[in-house]
Symmetry: C2
Subunit: 328 residues, 2 copies
Protein backbone atom coordinates (compact mmCIF):
# COMPACT_ATOMS: atom_id res chain seq x y z
CA UNK A 1 0.00 0.00 0.00
CA UNK A 2 1.50 3.30 -1.03
CA UNK A 3 0.50 6.60 0.54
CA UNK A 4 -1.58 8.57 -1.96
CA UNK A 5 -0.56 12.22 -1.98
CA UNK A 6 -2.58 15.14 -3.31
CA UNK A 7 -1.02 18.53 -4.03
CA UNK A 8 -3.10 21.68 -3.57
CA UNK A 9 -1.43 24.51 -5.48
CA UNK A 10 1.24 24.04 -8.11
CA UNK A 11 3.94 26.68 -7.66
CA UNK A 12 7.49 26.23 -6.32
CA UNK A 13 6.24 24.24 -3.35
CA UNK A 14 3.82 22.10 -5.34
CA UNK A 15 6.57 21.17 -7.79
CA UNK A 16 8.89 20.46 -4.85
CA UNK A 17 6.36 18.06 -3.35
CA UNK A 18 6.05 16.35 -6.72
CA UNK A 19 9.84 15.84 -6.88
CA UNK A 20 10.00 14.60 -3.29
CA UNK A 21 7.20 12.09 -3.81
CA UNK A 22 9.19 10.66 -6.73
CA UNK A 23 12.08 9.91 -4.34
CA UNK A 24 9.92 8.06 -1.81
CA UNK A 25 8.81 4.67 -3.12
CA UNK A 26 6.20 4.28 -0.38
CA UNK A 27 4.27 7.22 -1.86
CA UNK A 28 2.51 8.03 -5.07
CA UNK A 29 1.15 11.26 -6.47
CA UNK A 30 -2.62 10.88 -6.87
CA UNK A 31 -3.70 14.31 -8.11
CA UNK A 32 -2.75 17.96 -8.37
CA UNK A 33 -5.31 20.69 -7.67
CA UNK A 34 -5.00 24.23 -8.93
CA UNK A 35 -6.92 27.51 -8.87
CA UNK A 36 -5.78 28.12 -12.42
CA UNK A 37 -7.33 26.46 -15.46
CA UNK A 38 -6.19 22.83 -15.05
CA UNK A 39 -5.52 22.62 -18.80
CA UNK A 40 -2.91 25.37 -18.43
CA UNK A 41 -0.98 23.51 -15.73
CA UNK A 42 1.67 21.11 -16.99
CA UNK A 43 3.10 18.87 -14.28
CA UNK A 44 6.17 16.63 -14.36
CA UNK A 45 4.66 13.25 -13.44
CA UNK A 46 3.16 11.34 -16.33
CA UNK A 47 -0.39 10.09 -16.04
CA UNK A 48 -1.37 12.11 -12.97
CA UNK A 49 -4.49 14.27 -13.39
CA UNK A 50 -4.74 17.99 -12.67
CA UNK A 51 -8.09 19.18 -11.32
CA UNK A 52 -9.73 22.43 -10.31
CA UNK A 53 -9.20 23.16 -6.61
CA UNK A 54 -12.93 22.97 -5.92
CA UNK A 55 -13.05 19.38 -7.17
CA UNK A 56 -10.81 18.12 -4.34
CA UNK A 57 -13.65 17.55 -1.90
CA UNK A 58 -15.14 14.93 -4.22
CA UNK A 59 -11.96 12.89 -4.05
CA UNK A 60 -11.56 12.16 -0.38
CA UNK A 61 -11.48 8.41 -1.08
CA UNK A 62 -8.56 8.74 -3.49
CA UNK A 63 -6.14 10.77 -1.38
CA UNK A 64 -4.55 9.82 1.94
CA UNK A 65 -2.79 13.10 2.61
CA UNK A 66 -3.43 16.45 0.92
CA UNK A 67 -0.44 18.79 0.94
CA UNK A 68 -1.36 22.45 0.99
CA UNK A 69 1.15 24.47 -1.01
CA UNK A 70 -0.34 27.94 -0.60
CA UNK A 71 1.19 30.98 1.06
CA UNK A 72 1.09 31.76 4.77
CA UNK A 73 -0.23 35.30 4.41
CA UNK A 74 -3.68 34.63 3.00
CA UNK A 75 -4.01 31.07 1.65
CA UNK A 76 -3.20 28.75 4.53
CA UNK A 77 -5.13 30.49 7.34
CA UNK A 78 -8.26 29.69 5.30
CA UNK A 79 -7.24 26.53 3.46
CA UNK A 80 -5.78 24.43 6.25
CA UNK A 81 -8.82 24.50 8.59
CA UNK A 82 -11.11 24.08 5.58
CA UNK A 83 -9.38 21.06 4.01
CA UNK A 84 -8.76 19.46 7.41
CA UNK A 85 -12.50 18.78 7.42
CA UNK A 86 -12.05 16.39 4.49
CA UNK A 87 -8.45 15.24 4.41
CA UNK A 88 -5.37 14.57 6.46
CA UNK A 89 -3.35 17.64 5.55
CA UNK A 90 0.17 19.06 5.83
CA UNK A 91 1.04 22.73 5.44
CA UNK A 92 4.16 24.86 5.77
CA UNK A 93 2.59 27.80 7.60
CA UNK A 94 5.59 29.95 8.52
CA UNK A 95 4.31 33.15 10.12
CA UNK A 96 5.87 32.34 13.50
CA UNK A 97 3.84 34.85 15.51
CA UNK A 98 0.54 33.48 14.25
CA UNK A 99 1.26 29.79 14.75
CA UNK A 100 -0.70 29.51 18.05
CA UNK A 101 -3.83 30.94 16.41
CA UNK A 102 -3.42 28.82 13.28
CA UNK A 103 -2.86 25.74 15.44
CA UNK A 104 -6.07 26.37 17.38
CA UNK A 105 -8.18 26.82 14.23
CA UNK A 106 -6.75 23.78 12.51
CA UNK A 107 -6.92 21.62 15.63
CA UNK A 108 -10.62 22.29 16.04
CA UNK A 109 -11.43 21.43 12.42
CA UNK A 110 -9.23 18.33 12.35
CA UNK A 111 -10.54 16.95 15.64
CA UNK A 112 -14.16 17.41 14.60
CA UNK A 113 -13.45 15.54 11.38
CA UNK A 114 -11.20 12.89 12.92
CA UNK A 115 -8.33 13.92 10.66
CA UNK A 116 -4.64 14.65 11.24
CA UNK A 117 -3.26 18.05 10.28
CA UNK A 118 0.48 18.73 10.46
CA UNK A 119 1.21 22.45 10.31
CA UNK A 120 4.39 24.48 9.92
CA UNK A 121 6.43 21.72 8.27
CA UNK A 122 9.65 22.85 6.60
CA UNK A 123 12.95 24.03 8.00
CA UNK A 124 12.08 27.19 9.94
CA UNK A 125 9.58 26.48 11.33
CA UNK A 126 10.43 22.80 11.07
CA UNK A 127 13.92 21.33 11.34
CA UNK A 128 15.23 24.47 13.06
CA UNK A 129 12.38 24.32 15.58
CA UNK A 130 13.19 20.71 16.31
CA UNK A 131 16.78 21.55 16.97
CA UNK A 132 15.87 24.47 19.21
CA UNK A 133 13.48 22.22 21.15
CA UNK A 134 15.95 19.33 21.54
CA UNK A 135 18.81 21.61 22.53
CA UNK A 136 16.63 23.39 25.11
CA UNK A 137 15.40 20.12 26.56
CA UNK A 138 18.93 18.75 26.91
CA UNK A 139 20.60 21.96 28.10
CA UNK A 140 17.99 23.91 30.10
CA UNK A 141 20.64 26.40 31.16
CA UNK A 142 21.76 28.05 27.95
CA UNK A 143 21.37 30.60 25.17
CA UNK A 144 19.83 30.10 21.72
CA UNK A 145 20.94 31.60 18.45
CA UNK A 146 19.38 31.26 15.01
CA UNK A 147 21.09 32.65 11.91
CA UNK A 148 19.67 32.51 8.38
CA UNK A 149 21.57 32.37 5.13
CA UNK A 150 23.42 32.73 3.04
CA UNK A 151 20.24 32.63 1.05
CA UNK A 152 17.59 34.37 -0.96
CA UNK A 153 14.83 36.03 1.03
CA UNK A 154 11.79 36.16 -1.22
CA UNK A 155 10.00 38.65 1.03
CA UNK A 156 12.91 41.07 0.87
CA UNK A 157 13.33 40.58 -2.88
CA UNK A 158 9.63 41.38 -3.33
CA UNK A 159 9.97 44.49 -1.17
CA UNK A 160 12.70 45.81 -3.45
CA UNK A 161 10.65 45.04 -6.54
CA UNK A 162 7.88 47.29 -5.25
CA UNK A 163 10.21 50.33 -5.40
CA UNK A 164 9.56 52.63 -8.34
CA UNK A 165 12.13 52.17 -11.09
CA UNK A 166 13.05 48.60 -10.09
CA UNK A 167 12.51 45.99 -12.75
CA UNK A 168 13.69 42.95 -10.81
CA UNK A 169 15.72 42.16 -7.69
CA UNK A 170 17.23 39.43 -5.62
CA UNK A 171 18.12 39.84 -1.94
CA UNK A 172 20.54 37.64 0.00
CA UNK A 173 20.52 37.38 3.78
CA UNK A 174 24.03 36.69 5.06
CA UNK A 175 25.04 35.73 8.61
CA UNK A 176 27.92 37.71 10.10
CA UNK A 177 30.85 35.30 10.36
CA UNK A 178 32.45 36.94 13.37
CA UNK A 179 29.22 36.57 15.35
CA UNK A 180 29.02 32.88 14.44
CA UNK A 181 32.64 32.36 15.44
CA UNK A 182 32.15 33.94 18.87
CA UNK A 183 29.17 31.73 19.57
CA UNK A 184 30.89 28.59 18.33
CA UNK A 185 33.70 29.39 20.74
CA UNK A 186 31.15 29.06 23.54
CA UNK A 187 30.52 32.76 24.13
CA UNK A 188 26.98 34.06 24.66
CA UNK A 189 26.98 37.62 23.32
CA UNK A 190 23.87 39.77 23.14
CA UNK A 191 23.71 40.65 19.47
CA UNK A 192 21.78 43.41 17.78
CA UNK A 193 19.97 42.78 14.50
CA UNK A 194 22.84 44.51 12.67
CA UNK A 195 25.44 42.31 14.34
CA UNK A 196 23.79 39.08 13.24
CA UNK A 197 23.05 39.47 9.53
CA UNK A 198 23.94 41.63 6.57
CA UNK A 199 21.81 42.06 3.44
CA UNK A 200 23.06 42.10 -0.13
CA UNK A 201 20.81 43.21 -2.98
CA UNK A 202 21.15 42.69 -6.72
CA UNK A 203 18.89 45.11 -8.53
CA UNK A 204 17.89 45.53 -12.16
CA UNK A 205 16.84 49.16 -12.64
CA UNK A 206 14.51 50.33 -15.35
CA UNK A 207 16.14 52.39 -18.05
CA UNK A 208 16.75 55.94 -16.91
CA UNK A 209 15.76 55.24 -13.30
CA UNK A 210 17.52 57.18 -10.55
CA UNK A 211 19.80 54.56 -9.03
CA UNK A 212 20.88 56.73 -6.12
CA UNK A 213 17.27 57.18 -5.08
CA UNK A 214 16.55 53.44 -5.42
CA UNK A 215 19.57 52.57 -3.31
CA UNK A 216 18.53 55.11 -0.68
CA UNK A 217 14.99 53.75 -0.59
CA UNK A 218 16.28 50.21 -0.14
CA UNK A 219 18.77 50.82 2.65
CA UNK A 220 16.37 53.01 4.65
CA UNK A 221 13.28 50.83 4.21
CA UNK A 222 11.72 50.27 7.65
CA UNK A 223 11.56 46.69 9.02
CA UNK A 224 13.15 45.23 5.91
CA UNK A 225 16.51 46.99 5.68
CA UNK A 226 16.96 49.97 8.01
CA UNK A 227 18.34 47.91 10.90
CA UNK A 228 20.90 46.12 8.72
CA UNK A 229 24.09 46.91 6.89
CA UNK A 230 22.86 46.59 3.34
CA UNK A 231 24.82 46.67 0.11
CA UNK A 232 23.17 47.29 -3.26
CA UNK A 233 24.58 46.19 -6.62
CA UNK A 234 22.98 47.29 -9.86
CA UNK A 235 23.25 44.61 -12.51
CA UNK A 236 21.70 43.83 -15.88
CA UNK A 237 18.71 41.60 -16.38
CA UNK A 238 20.95 39.08 -18.10
CA UNK A 239 23.29 38.98 -15.11
CA UNK A 240 20.36 38.49 -12.74
CA UNK A 241 19.09 35.56 -14.79
CA UNK A 242 22.52 34.05 -15.19
CA UNK A 243 23.91 34.44 -11.65
CA UNK A 244 20.88 34.65 -9.38
CA UNK A 245 18.28 32.27 -10.77
CA UNK A 246 18.38 29.77 -7.90
CA UNK A 247 16.70 29.86 -4.51
CA UNK A 248 19.50 28.74 -2.19
CA UNK A 249 19.14 29.18 1.53
CA UNK A 250 20.19 27.73 4.85
CA UNK A 251 21.29 28.79 8.28
CA UNK A 252 22.43 27.82 11.73
CA UNK A 253 20.77 26.97 15.04
CA UNK A 254 23.22 27.05 17.93
CA UNK A 255 22.69 26.58 21.64
CA UNK A 256 25.43 27.18 24.16
CA UNK A 257 24.63 25.64 27.50
CA UNK A 258 26.21 24.76 30.79
CA UNK A 259 26.22 21.64 32.96
CA UNK A 260 27.89 20.55 36.17
CA UNK A 261 27.19 21.07 39.84
CA UNK A 262 28.45 24.65 39.57
CA UNK A 263 27.73 25.04 35.83
CA UNK A 264 31.44 24.61 35.21
CA UNK A 265 31.20 22.85 31.83
CA UNK A 266 30.22 24.41 28.55
CA UNK A 267 28.63 22.72 25.54
CA UNK A 268 27.93 23.91 22.02
CA UNK A 269 25.18 22.25 19.96
CA UNK A 270 25.04 23.37 16.34
CA UNK A 271 22.68 22.43 13.53
CA UNK A 272 23.18 23.87 10.09
CA UNK A 273 21.66 23.63 6.64
CA UNK A 274 23.21 24.54 3.30
CA UNK A 275 20.48 24.23 0.70
CA UNK A 276 20.67 24.60 -3.07
CA UNK A 277 16.90 24.86 -3.26
CA UNK A 278 14.86 26.27 -0.41
CA UNK A 279 11.48 25.09 -1.79
CA UNK A 280 12.72 21.57 -2.55
CA UNK A 281 14.20 21.11 0.91
CA UNK A 282 11.06 22.52 2.51
CA UNK A 283 8.91 20.10 0.57
CA UNK A 284 11.21 17.20 1.43
CA UNK A 285 10.39 17.87 5.08
CA UNK A 286 6.69 18.26 4.24
CA UNK A 287 6.58 14.90 2.50
CA UNK A 288 8.22 13.16 5.47
CA UNK A 289 5.54 14.79 7.65
CA UNK A 290 2.86 13.48 5.29
CA UNK A 291 4.14 9.97 5.98
CA UNK A 292 3.92 10.63 9.71
CA UNK A 293 0.39 12.03 9.33
CA UNK A 294 -0.68 8.89 7.51
CA UNK A 295 0.74 6.68 10.26
CA UNK A 296 -0.74 8.69 13.10
CA UNK A 297 -4.12 8.56 11.39
CA UNK A 298 -3.86 4.79 11.13
CA UNK A 299 -3.27 4.67 14.87
CA UNK A 300 -6.46 6.59 15.44
CA UNK A 301 -4.86 9.91 16.37
CA UNK A 302 -6.56 13.12 15.23
CA UNK A 303 -6.09 16.86 15.58
CA UNK A 304 -3.36 19.36 14.78
CA UNK A 305 0.28 18.37 15.19
CA UNK A 306 3.61 20.03 14.60
CA UNK A 307 6.91 18.32 13.98
CA UNK A 308 7.56 18.67 17.73
CA UNK A 309 4.72 16.20 18.38
CA UNK A 310 5.84 13.56 15.89
CA UNK A 311 7.97 10.59 16.96
CA UNK A 312 11.02 10.83 14.66
CA UNK A 313 10.61 7.22 13.52
CA UNK A 314 7.22 8.12 11.98
CA UNK A 315 8.93 10.40 9.47
CA UNK A 316 11.06 7.59 8.12
CA UNK A 317 10.17 4.95 5.55
CA UNK A 318 12.34 2.51 7.50
CA UNK A 319 10.86 0.20 10.12
CA UNK A 320 11.70 0.57 13.80
CA UNK A 321 13.95 -2.49 13.50
CA UNK A 322 15.81 -1.05 10.54
CA UNK A 323 16.26 2.29 12.27
CA UNK A 324 17.65 0.67 15.41
CA UNK A 325 20.00 -1.49 13.38
CA UNK A 326 21.16 1.04 10.81
CA UNK A 327 20.90 4.52 12.27
CA UNK A 328 20.68 4.35 16.06
CA UNK B 1 4.24 16.95 41.17
CA UNK B 2 7.92 16.55 40.51
CA UNK B 3 9.36 13.50 38.78
CA UNK B 4 11.20 11.40 41.34
CA UNK B 5 14.50 10.14 39.94
CA UNK B 6 16.57 7.25 41.23
CA UNK B 7 20.21 6.75 40.23
CA UNK B 8 21.61 3.23 40.00
CA UNK B 9 25.41 3.41 40.10
CA UNK B 10 27.34 6.46 41.20
CA UNK B 11 30.32 6.95 38.88
CA UNK B 12 30.80 9.65 36.22
CA UNK B 13 27.34 9.02 34.79
CA UNK B 14 25.61 8.87 38.16
CA UNK B 15 27.15 12.16 39.19
CA UNK B 16 26.18 13.63 35.81
CA UNK B 17 22.54 12.61 36.35
CA UNK B 18 22.65 14.21 39.79
CA UNK B 19 23.90 17.51 38.29
CA UNK B 20 21.31 17.41 35.50
CA UNK B 21 18.43 16.76 37.90
CA UNK B 22 19.49 19.89 39.82
CA UNK B 23 18.98 21.95 36.65
CA UNK B 24 15.46 20.66 35.99
CA UNK B 25 12.95 22.05 38.50
CA UNK B 26 10.30 19.51 37.49
CA UNK B 27 12.50 16.71 38.88
CA UNK B 28 13.93 15.70 42.19
CA UNK B 29 16.55 13.18 43.19
CA UNK B 30 14.88 10.54 45.38
CA UNK B 31 17.71 8.10 46.03
CA UNK B 32 21.08 6.83 44.86
CA UNK B 33 21.84 3.10 44.76
CA UNK B 34 25.33 1.67 44.77
CA UNK B 35 27.09 -1.70 44.75
CA UNK B 36 29.70 -0.21 47.06
CA UNK B 37 29.17 0.29 50.78
CA UNK B 38 26.62 3.13 50.85
CA UNK B 39 28.46 4.73 53.77
CA UNK B 40 31.52 5.14 51.55
CA UNK B 41 29.59 7.00 48.82
CA UNK B 42 29.40 10.75 49.29
CA UNK B 43 26.95 12.43 46.90
CA UNK B 44 26.49 16.13 46.12
CA UNK B 45 22.80 16.61 46.92
CA UNK B 46 22.04 17.25 50.55
CA UNK B 47 19.46 15.10 52.29
CA UNK B 48 19.21 12.41 49.63
CA UNK B 49 19.82 8.85 50.88
CA UNK B 50 22.29 6.37 49.41
CA UNK B 51 21.23 2.73 49.52
CA UNK B 52 22.64 -0.64 48.60
CA UNK B 53 21.69 -1.61 45.04
CA UNK B 54 19.69 -4.60 46.23
CA UNK B 55 17.41 -2.34 48.28
CA UNK B 56 16.01 -0.61 45.18
CA UNK B 57 13.27 -3.14 44.59
CA UNK B 58 11.69 -2.22 47.92
CA UNK B 59 11.31 1.38 46.84
CA UNK B 60 9.19 1.15 43.72
CA UNK B 61 6.62 3.52 45.25
CA UNK B 62 9.18 6.25 45.86
CA UNK B 63 10.79 6.45 42.41
CA UNK B 64 9.14 7.37 39.11
CA UNK B 65 12.13 6.71 36.86
CA UNK B 66 15.27 4.76 37.72
CA UNK B 67 18.32 5.77 35.70
CA UNK B 68 20.80 2.97 35.13
CA UNK B 69 24.34 4.31 35.12
CA UNK B 70 26.25 1.07 34.58
CA UNK B 71 28.49 0.11 31.66
CA UNK B 72 27.33 -1.36 28.38
CA UNK B 73 29.73 -4.31 28.36
CA UNK B 74 28.45 -6.28 31.35
CA UNK B 75 26.15 -4.16 33.57
CA UNK B 76 23.31 -2.96 31.37
CA UNK B 77 22.57 -6.17 29.42
CA UNK B 78 21.61 -7.65 32.81
CA UNK B 79 20.41 -4.59 34.73
CA UNK B 80 18.06 -2.99 32.24
CA UNK B 81 15.77 -6.01 31.65
CA UNK B 82 15.93 -6.79 35.38
CA UNK B 83 15.01 -3.32 36.68
CA UNK B 84 12.40 -2.80 33.93
CA UNK B 85 10.34 -5.36 35.85
CA UNK B 86 10.02 -2.91 38.74
CA UNK B 87 10.63 0.61 37.43
CA UNK B 88 10.41 2.86 34.44
CA UNK B 89 14.07 2.95 33.46
CA UNK B 90 16.50 4.82 31.21
CA UNK B 91 19.91 3.53 30.19
CA UNK B 92 22.71 4.68 27.90
CA UNK B 93 23.51 1.31 26.32
CA UNK B 94 25.99 2.21 23.59
CA UNK B 95 27.23 -1.01 22.00
CA UNK B 96 25.65 -0.21 18.62
CA UNK B 97 25.85 -3.73 17.20
CA UNK B 98 24.01 -5.23 20.18
CA UNK B 99 21.18 -2.70 20.38
CA UNK B 100 18.61 -4.93 18.57
CA UNK B 101 19.24 -7.77 21.05
CA UNK B 102 19.20 -5.44 24.06
CA UNK B 103 16.00 -3.82 22.78
CA UNK B 104 14.26 -7.20 22.48
CA UNK B 105 15.23 -8.27 26.00
CA UNK B 106 14.23 -4.99 27.58
CA UNK B 107 11.01 -4.71 25.57
CA UNK B 108 9.83 -8.11 26.78
CA UNK B 109 10.51 -7.32 30.43
CA UNK B 110 9.02 -3.82 30.29
CA UNK B 111 5.87 -4.93 28.47
CA UNK B 112 5.24 -7.75 30.92
CA UNK B 113 5.56 -5.30 33.80
CA UNK B 114 3.68 -2.44 32.13
CA UNK B 115 6.73 -0.18 32.43
CA UNK B 116 8.54 2.14 30.04
CA UNK B 117 12.23 1.56 29.33
CA UNK B 118 14.20 4.04 27.24
CA UNK B 119 17.49 2.55 26.06
CA UNK B 120 20.56 4.01 24.38
CA UNK B 121 20.02 7.59 25.53
CA UNK B 122 23.00 9.89 25.15
CA UNK B 123 24.62 11.47 22.13
CA UNK B 124 25.83 8.50 20.09
CA UNK B 125 23.61 6.57 20.26
CA UNK B 126 21.18 9.39 21.02
CA UNK B 127 21.34 12.87 19.57
CA UNK B 128 23.53 11.68 16.69
CA UNK B 129 21.07 8.87 15.92
CA UNK B 130 18.21 11.37 15.86
CA UNK B 131 20.05 13.52 13.40
CA UNK B 132 20.91 10.57 11.19
CA UNK B 133 17.26 9.49 11.24
CA UNK B 134 15.83 12.94 10.50
CA UNK B 135 18.32 13.64 7.73
CA UNK B 136 17.62 10.26 6.14
CA UNK B 137 13.87 10.76 6.31
CA UNK B 138 14.09 14.20 4.72
CA UNK B 139 16.74 13.39 2.12
CA UNK B 140 16.26 9.74 1.14
CA UNK B 141 18.79 10.14 -1.66
CA UNK B 142 22.07 10.90 0.12
CA UNK B 143 25.19 9.88 1.99
CA UNK B 144 25.79 9.85 5.75
CA UNK B 145 28.95 10.73 7.60
CA UNK B 146 29.65 10.59 11.33
CA UNK B 147 32.88 11.94 12.79
CA UNK B 148 33.83 11.84 16.45
CA UNK B 149 36.05 14.25 18.35
CA UNK B 150 38.04 16.04 19.17
CA UNK B 151 37.61 14.11 22.38
CA UNK B 152 38.80 11.56 24.84
CA UNK B 153 38.02 7.95 24.02
CA UNK B 154 37.92 6.09 27.30
CA UNK B 155 38.06 2.71 25.58
CA UNK B 156 41.24 3.65 23.73
CA UNK B 157 42.78 5.21 26.83
CA UNK B 158 42.09 1.98 28.71
CA UNK B 159 43.64 -0.07 25.92
CA UNK B 160 46.88 1.91 26.23
CA UNK B 161 46.87 1.54 30.03
CA UNK B 162 46.88 -2.23 29.61
CA UNK B 163 50.28 -2.11 27.86
CA UNK B 164 53.20 -3.16 30.05
CA UNK B 165 55.19 -0.18 31.31
CA UNK B 166 52.30 2.31 30.96
CA UNK B 167 51.28 4.06 34.17
CA UNK B 168 48.50 6.19 32.75
CA UNK B 169 47.27 7.42 29.37
CA UNK B 170 44.76 9.61 27.64
CA UNK B 171 43.74 9.14 24.00
CA UNK B 172 42.11 11.79 21.80
CA UNK B 173 40.13 10.94 18.68
CA UNK B 174 40.44 13.75 16.14
CA UNK B 175 38.44 14.17 12.93
CA UNK B 176 40.47 14.90 9.80
CA UNK B 177 39.69 18.50 8.85
CA UNK B 178 40.23 18.04 5.13
CA UNK B 179 37.67 15.21 5.06
CA UNK B 180 35.13 17.37 6.88
CA UNK B 181 35.75 20.24 4.48
CA UNK B 182 35.17 18.07 1.41
CA UNK B 183 31.89 16.80 2.79
CA UNK B 184 30.72 20.25 3.86
CA UNK B 185 31.37 21.38 0.29
CA UNK B 186 28.76 18.84 -0.80
CA UNK B 187 31.12 16.10 -1.96
CA UNK B 188 30.43 12.46 -1.11
CA UNK B 189 33.86 10.81 -0.91
CA UNK B 190 34.35 7.20 0.13
CA UNK B 191 36.68 7.51 3.07
CA UNK B 192 38.84 4.89 4.70
CA UNK B 193 39.11 4.68 8.46
CA UNK B 194 42.51 6.41 8.22
CA UNK B 195 41.09 9.27 6.18
CA UNK B 196 38.37 10.08 8.72
CA UNK B 197 40.13 10.24 12.09
CA UNK B 198 43.58 10.48 13.63
CA UNK B 199 44.48 9.38 17.15
CA UNK B 200 46.71 11.26 19.57
CA UNK B 201 47.97 9.59 22.74
CA UNK B 202 49.46 11.12 25.88
CA UNK B 203 51.26 8.45 27.84
CA UNK B 204 52.89 8.37 31.26
CA UNK B 205 55.50 5.61 31.21
CA UNK B 206 56.73 3.83 34.29
CA UNK B 207 60.27 4.61 35.28
CA UNK B 208 62.75 2.77 33.11
CA UNK B 209 60.11 1.49 30.69
CA UNK B 210 61.06 1.04 27.04
CA UNK B 211 59.24 3.93 25.37
CA UNK B 212 60.03 2.81 21.85
CA UNK B 213 58.41 -0.55 22.54
CA UNK B 214 55.36 1.10 24.14
CA UNK B 215 54.92 3.40 21.17
CA UNK B 216 55.25 0.48 18.76
CA UNK B 217 52.69 -1.54 20.71
CA UNK B 218 50.25 1.35 20.62
CA UNK B 219 50.43 2.25 16.94
CA UNK B 220 50.22 -1.38 15.81
CA UNK B 221 47.44 -2.44 18.19
CA UNK B 222 44.76 -4.24 16.14
CA UNK B 223 41.26 -2.69 16.01
CA UNK B 224 42.23 0.18 18.27
CA UNK B 225 45.11 1.87 16.43
CA UNK B 226 46.51 -0.07 13.49
CA UNK B 227 44.12 1.43 10.94
CA UNK B 228 44.81 5.02 12.05
CA UNK B 229 47.60 7.54 11.91
CA UNK B 230 48.52 7.67 15.56
CA UNK B 231 50.90 10.00 17.37
CA UNK B 232 52.26 9.21 20.80
CA UNK B 233 53.57 11.78 23.28
CA UNK B 234 55.27 10.74 26.49
CA UNK B 235 54.52 13.17 29.30
CA UNK B 236 54.85 13.27 33.08
CA UNK B 237 52.12 12.31 35.48
CA UNK B 238 51.85 15.95 36.54
CA UNK B 239 51.35 17.06 32.94
CA UNK B 240 48.66 14.44 32.44
CA UNK B 241 46.81 15.62 35.52
CA UNK B 242 47.23 19.27 34.65
CA UNK B 243 46.44 19.23 30.92
CA UNK B 244 44.31 16.15 30.36
CA UNK B 245 42.02 15.83 33.37
CA UNK B 246 38.77 16.59 31.54
CA UNK B 247 36.56 14.34 29.44
CA UNK B 248 35.76 16.57 26.47
CA UNK B 249 34.19 15.07 23.36
CA UNK B 250 31.95 15.85 20.44
CA UNK B 251 31.64 15.23 16.77
CA UNK B 252 29.74 15.77 13.56
CA UNK B 253 26.84 14.10 11.76
CA UNK B 254 26.54 15.21 8.16
CA UNK B 255 24.22 14.08 5.40
CA UNK B 256 24.65 15.25 1.83
CA UNK B 257 21.55 14.63 -0.22
CA UNK B 258 19.97 15.50 -3.52
CA UNK B 259 16.53 16.70 -4.54
CA UNK B 260 14.86 17.80 -7.75
CA UNK B 261 13.27 16.02 -10.65
CA UNK B 262 16.73 15.03 -11.94
CA UNK B 263 18.47 15.24 -8.56
CA UNK B 264 19.94 18.54 -9.64
CA UNK B 265 20.04 20.21 -6.23
CA UNK B 266 22.40 19.42 -3.40
CA UNK B 267 21.83 19.92 0.33
CA UNK B 268 24.12 19.61 3.32
CA UNK B 269 22.65 18.93 6.77
CA UNK B 270 25.17 19.13 9.60
CA UNK B 271 24.78 18.55 13.33
CA UNK B 272 27.72 19.02 15.63
CA UNK B 273 28.52 18.87 19.31
CA UNK B 274 31.43 20.43 21.18
CA UNK B 275 31.28 19.13 24.74
CA UNK B 276 33.42 20.05 27.74
CA UNK B 277 32.15 17.00 29.59
CA UNK B 278 31.10 13.86 27.76
CA UNK B 279 29.42 12.25 30.82
CA UNK B 280 27.54 15.40 31.80
CA UNK B 281 26.16 15.92 28.30
CA UNK B 282 25.23 12.25 28.04
CA UNK B 283 23.35 12.44 31.32
CA UNK B 284 21.62 15.67 30.27
CA UNK B 285 20.11 13.69 27.39
CA UNK B 286 19.30 10.79 29.72
CA UNK B 287 17.43 13.05 32.13
CA UNK B 288 15.34 14.56 29.29
CA UNK B 289 14.51 10.97 28.28
CA UNK B 290 13.48 10.23 31.87
CA UNK B 291 10.93 13.04 31.61
CA UNK B 292 9.63 11.52 28.38
CA UNK B 293 9.46 8.06 29.98
CA UNK B 294 7.40 9.47 32.84
CA UNK B 295 4.97 11.11 30.43
CA UNK B 296 4.61 8.09 28.18
CA UNK B 297 3.92 5.94 31.25
CA UNK B 298 1.20 8.36 32.34
CA UNK B 299 -0.39 7.92 28.93
CA UNK B 300 -0.47 4.19 29.44
CA UNK B 301 2.35 3.32 27.05
CA UNK B 302 4.69 0.47 27.97
CA UNK B 303 7.65 -1.36 26.47
CA UNK B 304 11.10 -0.43 25.22
CA UNK B 305 11.63 2.87 23.43
CA UNK B 306 14.58 4.68 21.95
CA UNK B 307 14.87 8.40 21.38
CA UNK B 308 13.66 7.74 17.82
CA UNK B 309 10.26 6.73 19.24
CA UNK B 310 9.80 9.76 21.51
CA UNK B 311 7.85 12.83 20.37
CA UNK B 312 10.37 15.68 20.83
CA UNK B 313 7.91 17.69 22.92
CA UNK B 314 7.94 14.93 25.57
CA UNK B 315 11.60 15.63 26.31
CA UNK B 316 10.92 19.24 27.17
CA UNK B 317 9.67 20.69 30.45
CA UNK B 318 7.74 23.28 28.43
CA UNK B 319 4.10 22.75 27.50
CA UNK B 320 3.00 22.25 23.91
CA UNK B 321 1.68 25.80 23.90
CA UNK B 322 4.95 27.22 25.15
CA UNK B 323 6.94 25.23 22.62
CA UNK B 324 4.77 26.42 19.74
CA UNK B 325 5.01 30.02 20.90
CA UNK B 326 8.67 30.15 21.87
CA UNK B 327 10.60 27.58 19.87
CA UNK B 328 8.60 26.52 16.82
Amino acid sequence: MTIRIGIMGYGNLGRGVECAVKQNPDMELAAVFTRRDPKSVKILTEGVPVYRADEAKNMTDRIDVLILCGGSATDLPVQTPEYAKYFNVVDSFDTHAKIPEHFANVDKAAKEAGKIAVISAGWDPGMFSLNRAYANAVLPNGTDYTFWGKGVSQGHSDAIRRIKGVKDARQYTIPVDSALEQIRAGKTPKLTTREKHTRECFVVAEEGADKARIEHEIVTMPNYFDEYDTTVHFITEEELKRDHAGLPHGGFVIRNGKTGWNLEHNHVIEYSLKLDSNPEFTTSVIVACARAAYRMKQEGVSGCKTILDIPPAYLSAKSGEQLRKELL
